[in-house]
């Protein structure tokens, strides 16, 4: 494919010319991540320059159509661009739930007007979106949500509470699942609604986790309003969009590379703390066998992600199998962190003064992994999905 190589050359040249030197480095902390939005404060001028230049070219979302602010690139071109960015250690110009979640939903289910209104500001990092799915009473049973949007002619009045809304306290808008028909069966009275955060009826409260400070918030709607045109897709058909995005999210959460823990493998960590015997093996039989087995599973898991990607490319759908990835990947990640903690010993137990301290990175990450098998659908829910949709085992 000479075209692709030509594209690679152009991309490389452009990136060399346009990516500021100061930000060409691996992402190492919160300060290196740009989320955008009205409240955003760039940590450096170069961050802003980089975002603006990339946005202008449509490369903050390379595969989205050009008319909505994307780059209009093919999958292959987008992959080349990613490789070339990685080559010079160029970070993503902007991260956001708008890019990962809302954009794909609007592209698939949104009206032409909605796409034109909401997608360009996402591409340019001007509007930051939060996700409003979960509710305190609902948990894994997402469709049991109670937040209601009552029809008031040209707008909805929204009342209720969402939980696990990441960064809601810093976001401009939120996409929500709301109940628009309380009398319908629970999956059939739900709609997908876009709501402005910047109004008196919306308030947020941060959630502290067992691992300390977190991006999560509770978000409260108290007679909040949203215009009718903010309804995405059909009225009472929001569950379809929710399912689409959940599958999307599952693949993301399950697919996290878990072979390394803070840049080192559990085997390397253990070699430092327990040493090796005369055969060169870890001196601790227990750690050695547990780590080796987890490495076997980790490698086979990565190959499974590769195989699913290749299957998708070959036109075969992966479907409910994404539940398998989500389940296995998150359980594996927990296991990895348990092993890394054991390999590190006393040192990893140190966590700094106060629950919100920045110290104790290993322990905080270990604690944080425990949510992996809960968020985006618990492990138990994934097993139910596999059992029903793939194995076709009967309902009780």
């Amino acid at each position: 494919m000479p075209d692709l190589e030509k594209f690679r050359e152009e991309a490389r040249e452009w990136l060399e010319a346009n990516c500021p030197e100061s930000i060409r480095k691996p992402v190492s902390g919160e300060d290196d991540i740009v989320w955008g939005g009205r409240n955003w404060v760039f940590k450096s001028d170069d961050q802003k320059i980089w975002l603006d230049r990339m946005a202008e070219r449509g490369w903050t979302v390379p595969e989205w159509p050009k008319e909505y602010g994307g780059g209009g690139l093919s999958k292959e071109e987008a992959k080349v661009l990613k490789q070339e960015m990685a080559r010079i250690k160029a970070p993503p110009p902007v991260n956001s739930f708008g890019i990962w979640m809302l954009g794909p939903a609007l592209l698939k289910f949104g009206s032409e007007e909605q796409k034109r209104e909401h997608l360009p500001p996402i591409c340019r990092g001007e509007i930051r979106w939060a996700q409003g799915y979960s509710e305190p009473g609902a948990g894994s049973d997402l469709a049991a949500l109670q937040t209601r949007a009552d029809d008031k002619g040209d707008h909805y009045i929204v009342n209720g509470q969402k939980v696990w809304t990441s960064y809601a306290d810093e976001c401009d808008k939120i996409f929500c699942l709301v109940r628009t028909d309380p009398s319908a069966p629970k999956h059939e009275g739900i709609s997908f609604l876009l709501i402005d955060m910047d109004q008196p009826g919306v308030t947020t409260k941060p959630i502290r986790l067992i691992s300390g400070k977190s991006p999560f918030c509770e978000t409260f709607f108290d007679d909040a309003t949203a215009p009718k045109e903010n309804l995405v897709g059909e009225l009472n058909k929001g569950w379809t969009i929710a399912k689409y995005l959940l599958t999307h999210e599952r693949a993301m959460i399950g697919g996290m590379d878990s072979s390394q823990v803070l840049g080192r493998s559990p085997g390397e960590i253990a070699a430092d703390t327990v040493g090796r015997n005369s055969e060169g093996e870890l001196a601790d039989s227990f750690l050695r066998s547990d780590i080796a087995r987890s490495d076997v599973d980790g490698w086979a898991f990565m190959l499974t992600m590769e195989r699913y990607r290749d299957k998708s490319k070959a036109g075969e759908g992966v479907g409910a199998a994404s539940s398998g990835l989500k389940y296995y990947g998150t359980e594996l990640n927990k296991r990895r962190y348990e092993l890394s903690m054991s390999a590190s010993g006393f040192n990893a137990l140190k966590i700094g003064d106060g629950i919100d301290s920045e110290e104790g990175e290993m322990a905080r990450r270990w604690l944080r992994t425990k949510a992996n098998s809960i968020e985006g659908g618990t492990s138990e829910v994934q097993l139910n999905i596999i059992s029903k949709r793939i194995l076709e085992l009967p309902d009780a």
């Binding site: 502290r208 067992i210 054991s342």
Partner: protein
């Protein structure tokens, strides 16, 4: 001895439970954390515990204790595990009292034991030097110096090291770095010249310290037990500590299990009480059987300590191994079964998982002790 509690022991347990639920529920640990209480526990509550007889449970009546013994100590620890009560019970009332009671001269006993039993004197065992427990790895040097010794080196992860008045320090008086022979125990006042104590906040919000000894001078009276032959003493004292710590882990594992079973009976998902889901039922039932095994191993270890203190090595390893692995499993399952709410700092259940991991690590984790049993069985 029958592997059951007698009536006195049951009464003691009930009394401890009542006191701890009232005076040191989980909210007390949370307070200690949030207010960054110095030393990691409330001195007032520790004094009340001493009045309850907790601090003197292993100190003989002669020195102001009750001498109830290790089963009793385990019952108290078990209840402390249930409420995650922060206190220097393990360090002072168990390790300190056992070490001095076992090997102290009359002078040493008279000087320290009444203070331990009264809750006024707090001791801490300074054993480890690396990131994993390995008591025979002793490089902290004790060189003869005048009538006494000069101690130089560093210890890590000393439980209650930041609150202790008296440190019990393993030091090398002879032999190579990993030899059992040549280890001597010393009693070192925490305020001696040359002692630096840095507390290290940990996931379980208890009080640990890294301690440096820089040419600390002690006289001959500071030796606990025999010079060069301290390792056997150290091990038997640690075995008491491990068994009581296993009892604490039994308590915390059971409490987190009880909380989880209660939650399963009330939480609804998909229109059903989640406790009706067989997937969760079977995991809970399996955990119950594991907890039964922990109870048996822990009780046997405690009884053995009361009967034959020095012969309790293998059974202490069993208790610590089994309690450590099951406490970790139980608390991890507790979080998963609680779902999102269990991940929030607002809920107590996370505190149990954090303590389980630190307690498992302290004085040898489950694998360390399974490995000891393997060695004892010849593989």
């Amino acid at each position: 001895m029958a592997l059951v509690l007698n009536e006195d022991q049951e009464m003691l347990r009930d009394a401890a439970r009542g006191f701890l639920r009232r005076r040191s529920p989980v909210s007390e640990l949370r307070r200690v954390r949030d207010e960054q209480v110095e030393g990691g526990f409330s001195r007032d509550i520790w004094r009340e515990m001493a009045e309850q007889g907790f601090a003197g449970v292993l100190v003989s009546e002669e020195y102001g204790g009750s001498g109830f013994g290790h089963v009793a100590a385990g019952l108290i620890a078990n209840e402390m595990g249930r409420t995650l009560a922060p206190s220097p019970f393990l360090s002072s009332a168990v390790l300190g009292a056992a070490a001095l009671g076992r090997a102290g001269t009359d002078g040493q006993k008279g000087e320290y034991l009444p203070g331990i039993a009264g809750g006024e004197l707090i001791t801490a065992m300074a054993v480890d030097e690396g990131d994993k427990h390995k008591p025979e790895h002793v490089t902290l040097k004790a060189e003869k110096s005048g009538n006494g010794f000069k101690l130089t080196g560093a210890k890590t992860f000393v439980a209650d090291g930041g609150a202790a008045d008296l440190l019990i320090v393993s030091a090398r008086t002879a032999g190579a770095d990993e030899d059992q022979q040549g280890v001597t125990l010393f009693l070192v006042p925490a305020d001696a010249t040359g002692v630096t104590i840095n507390t290290t906040p940990t996931v379980d919000n208890r009080n640990y310290a890294d301690i440096t000894l820089d040419g600390v001078e002690v006289d001959g009276d500071a030796v606990l037990g025999e010079v060069d032959n301290g390792f056997v003493l150290l091990e038997s004292v640690l075995n008491a500590g491990r068994s009581v710590l296993a009892a604490e882990m039994e308590g915390l594992a059971k409490e987190s299990f009880d909380m989880t079973v209660d939650y399963l009976k009330t939480r609804k998902q998909f229109g059903k009480i989640i406790g009706t889901f067989q997937g969760l039922q079977h995991r809970a039932a399996h955990l119950w059987t594991e907890l039964e095994l922990v109870e048996s191993a822990v009780l046997k270890a405690l009884q053995t300590l009361d009967e034959n203190f020095d012969g309790a090595g293998a059974i202490a390893a069993l208790a610590k191994a089994k309690a450590g692995s099951v406490a970790r499993l139980a608390t991890q399952e507790a979080i998963q079964m609680h779902g999102g709410i269990g991940m929030t700092d607002e809920h107590d259940i996370g505190f149990y998982m954090k303590r389980a991991r630190a307690a498992d690590e302290l004085f040898g984790d489950a694998d360390f002790h399974a490995g000891r049993i393997a060695m004892l069985r010849g593989y």
